[in-house]
Symmetry: C2
Subunit: 346 residues, 2 copies
């Protein structure tokens, strides 16, 4: 099935620069000594195919007492891309849908937008012109909607939007469109002593307000793209104000850079779905020890979407070739997953 809205065809690199406030959700705490769980129970939404077997075998090798490949819990760092790996990214990145809705909401305050691109295109629903505005247009859109407020104000805007926005095809809140098998995988890894991180091209402050609730990943374990912030006192109260200036783009070769900068350890397992994840998987797996690289391949147009080499965004091309070369697991969503979303019936 084709995306039900035209995809703006913009570069990941430009689209996703946003950061966020400092919320507060409990970290999952585990005993120091953990054993590999029974995978059939922990990965209930995974069919018993090669992908699940690759995951289970890897976990048994690095966690088994006496295994020659044993890694101490502190080394069990697993990094996950978000869009297209943990939740649905079609027909457009959720953060782009947010930006478009914000333009519409803010338009009464900006009468000039009626005659200024790319805002005019957004207000008229002209996705073709929006796509043609390219990186520059997208950057304008992000800055107009993600900057100019405090981190706490932005967090509230994101939370409020997610509470009411609905996916155009599934008619569900976007946070319901997390992949059930990946939620199980995150929990399975944590139950085996892993610390799970999100490493996404998406804006870190767009993700942090909800990742604990949806994925069990607390804000301090979310790495993403960001804009700059400035500390200032206003009416005697300190605040962090979001500036219209890119700080960090956590995509492509930026992902290993971000992993080193924000986490400070090299992962032993990494999960992605596009060429934007290529370098993260290389950095994780191209080393001496036992490592797991996994690519989510969108093959299920009936239950979700089917796309890879020829999509204008979230493209899976080089990373698919690299998967064969490096023996990364490639999830065939149609074949490997019993259900896609939490609301699907087994």
């Amino acid at each position: 099935m084709k995306p039900s809205l035209p995809s703006p065809g913009v570069s990941r690199r430009v689209l996703l620069a946003a950061l966020a406030a400092a919320p507060a959700l409990p970290q999952l705490l585990l005993p120091t000594t953990v054993r590999a769980q029974v995978p059939a129970a922990a990965l209930a939404s995974w069919n018993d195919t090669a992908s699940r077997q690759a995951i289970v075998t890897f976990v048994q090798r690095v966690t088994g007492q006496g295994s020659p490949d044993f890694m101490p819990p502190a080394e069990r760092i697993a990094t996950f891309d978000n869009d297209g790996t943990l939740w649905c990214e079609h027909p457009m990145y959720v953060q782009l849908a947010f930006a478009l809705d914000r333009v519409k909401a803010l338009a009464p305050l900006h009468p000039e937008w009626k005659d200024t691109q790319p805002f005019k295109a957004v207000l008229e629903g002209d996705m073709k012109t929006l796509a043609e505005s390219g990186e520059h247009g997208m950057a304008e859109l992000v800055m107009a909607t993600h900057a100019g407020m405090t981190t706490e104000e932005f967090q509230k805007i994101v939370t409020d939007w997610l509470a009411t926005a609905r996916h155009p095809r599934f008619k569900r809140a976007y946070t319901e469109l997390a992949y059930q098998p990946m939620i199980e995988l995150l929990a399975y890894l944590r139950a085996n002593g892993f610390k799970t991180f999100i490493v996404s091209g998406g804006g870190v402050e767009f993700m942090r307000p909800w990742t604990e609730r949806v994925y069990g990943v607390p804000p301090e374990q979310v790495v993403g793209s960001s804009i700059k912030t400035k500390f200032q006192m206003r009416d005697g109260e300190p605040e962090l104000f979001r500036l219209p200036e890119v700080n960090f783009i956590d995509d492509g070769a930026g992902k290993p850079v971000g992993i080193n900068e924000y986490i400070g350890r090299r992962p032993i397992a990494a999960f992605g779905n596009s060429d934007g994840d290529l370098e993260m998987l290389q950095w994780t797996t191209m080393t001496g020890g036992v490592r797991l690289g996994l690519i989510v391949h969108h093959t299920d147009a009936e239950r979700e979407y089917a796309y890879d080499r020829n999509t204008p965004f979230g493209r899976l091309d080089k990373a698919l070739d690299a998967a064969a070369l490096n023996k990364w697991a490639v999830v065939d969503m149609k074949r490997d997953w019993k259900v896609i979303f939490p609301f699907d019936k087994h």
Copy 2:
């Protein structure tokens, strides 16, 4: 007692831009339900004065079941400055001692340094000229010693240096010069469900190789200043190469920015010792709820050093005034601490 070497008198902001590799040490794991411990046991090196009482009272208020000020464990974020707060920063920042030693070690590869400042001053032990080289000179020193190698190579350089370098007065490894009462405080907070972070002007990759061992703080909970890195493949292997370019300065107003960017939650307790920590303590405490701000005041020239308003670096001036205004605890090291270092006798 005056510092036993002349202090170069350089700005914190310039001195400390370095980042580091991705090592791997175990995170302390705690049960979800924790109670306030008996402080007399947990804070054995603290005298029973106002500082210890402020700490214990705060912990009891935010952790006590049924307390009106109760905070869930996920919200119990505590941030600690490093130099002068957790370990000794006199007669010079340890990272500066490292940079000076590195210049000497690298000098045979750089014959031109004999005639080039600030390297000439370093090689001749001319600290006055070094200090006069100012921010520009310090930046050159940092880039010449902290960039131009991979993150893993830098990690090894730091680790090897710390294994042999000795403090000029105490004749001890620098990692032995962590403050015993602060080590106890870190552990006490963790035992009460807090997640402890370092938020330092020092280079993040200078700290991460040893913070777990010395403080129990794992690499992913260390925030600091950094230089940029670049991902590249060399001989078919991925690496992160350290570039001579500042990425982030985690000092002053940069500290709340760094806390938001790297941690993504607002702390409820913060610990510092200089004006570089002022904004972190403001950001932490100037809010509605019960919060703890604490300043370590160096008052003990006999056992360590005595300095505050008139030191050319690590200056405690505005933050001391702000402490009175905001009711932050001020540790009088001489009066409040039974011992300073782990090797001191009770």
